[in-house]
Symmetry: C2
Subunit: 99 residues, 2 copies
């Protein structure tokens, strides 16, 4: 089964849109790296939480993607806008619709 | 922006595969109901947690889908296999890859 993860992060107040733009700009190169789904959502519970759901061909492809120059650049630019509160759930993808 | 939600449920021990099969069988009719993504994953943290990430054209489409006969049937069959522990995060979908 393919590898998936569901992550959340919190931004400092007022920075959520900017972090979302960074995440979306970094998405362009992910398909070639083995990414099948990269979904960015804004929590409706507050003004600072971002949810990211990802599906990758393999876990190794996901881990390797974090070392891509574009990813490292985006992470470096996003970090000062984040509070440091993260969650991450890893999963085996069973299937569904729209994948 | 389109509507999304990330939900989790826990099954009674030994019933996760059966519940996943139910969820996947119910996915067939969702596209016509306005569903753009329905992703079912098995948590790697334990043997009983299921994660479901959904993207819908509108929140109203999502809410209406729960009243579809196939959905009500699947929910009714799954409930005895679940512990009753659920989480749900609602979000506005900002974009991404593979949608």
């Amino acid at each position: 089964m393919t590898y998936g993860c569901i992550a959340s992060m919190k931004t400092r107040p007022g920075f959520r849109e900017e972090v979302v733009s960074l995440l979306l700009s970094a998405a362009d190169g992910l398909r070639d790296a083995g990414c099948e789904l990269y979904l960015v959502g804004l929590s409706e519970d507050d003004e600072t939480t971002i949810w990211v759901t990802e599906v990758w061909r393999t876990r190794e492809d996901h881990d390797a993607s974090l070392e891509l120059p574009a990813a490292k650049d985006a992470i470096g630019r996003a970090m000062p806008m984040l509070t440091g509160e993260f969650t991450k759930q890893e999963m085996s993808v069973a299937g569904g619709l729209g994948l």
